[in-house]
Subunit: 147 residues, 2 copies
């Protein structure tokens, strides 16, 4: 039984476990300096971001985390920061359910655009987004400062 | 006389004019569907984003617009959505003043990371960021849906 629901306090440990799994897949596990308790505060107290989780037989096996962003060209947008399904539970339609739910939430919020990023070598993810007729734009380079 | 200050109600027309100039430079003027009055609401009423402006002899000649974003790896971040100085007023140090001010604001807010994007062909901007020892990471592709 697959179900999708809004994340609630208590989910932070399971979500953070998946965040670390995704960072490992993205070859940057050492970059994760966040913690499950900080994530809980950011999600449920300060409401900087929101998350939905997918459960399979009451186990959290995937999640999507997003927040309100802004485009000077378009107005209010939704940024999909993380979107992940555990490797052993892929190809069961969980990713589609999660992604479709985020798109539905974006529409309900009335945002003008939904944005995310994908690593250029992540062919599986690129194929997933291409199949959903997303626009993939490689023309921009990320700039960053760490504090 | 160059000065930098927080944007206030009434600045939206001058800022929006610069947003359109920047979109023209980025070869996408037709993508701007936002309006000055919507920008004013987003900046000053709903506080989705914030902006600083640079004035030269009381004329707004540059701006930076940013908002709180989130990294599951790092925590609370600052996203620099737009950063622009009118072409005829470049090489006067205005960009440096604006950028340094945004970095200072990011530090004051206690964010873990400051992010932005630059077009891969915008050599002047890339040189500007490189000179400031920013990390430029071309490994990510932007995914988008428009609503």
């Amino acid at each position: 039984m697959i179900s999708i629901r809004q994340a609630v306090p208590g989910d932070e440990k399971a979500i953070f476990y998946l965040i670390k799994e995704l960072a490992l897949f993205e070859k940057a596990p050492e970059q994760v300096t966040n913690t499950a308790s900080q994530l809980a505060k950011d999600l449920f107290e300060d409401c900087i971001c929101e998350a939905i989780v997918s459960e399979l037989n009451n186990e959290i096996v995937g999640f999507a985390l997003y927040y309100t962003s802004y485009s000077t060209w378009k107005g209010r947008c939704l940024y999909l920061e993380d979107f992940y399904v555990k490797e052993e539970h892929r190809n069961k339609g969980i990713g589609s359910l999660l992604f479709d739910k985020v798109v539905q939430i974006a529409k309900e919020k009335g945002v003008k655009r939904m944005d995310w990023q994908v690593l250029e070598w992540n062919k599986t993810a690129i194929d997933f987004y291409t199949a959903r007729k997303a626009i993939l734009d490689p023309e921009w380079i990320n700039g960053r400062y760490f504090f």
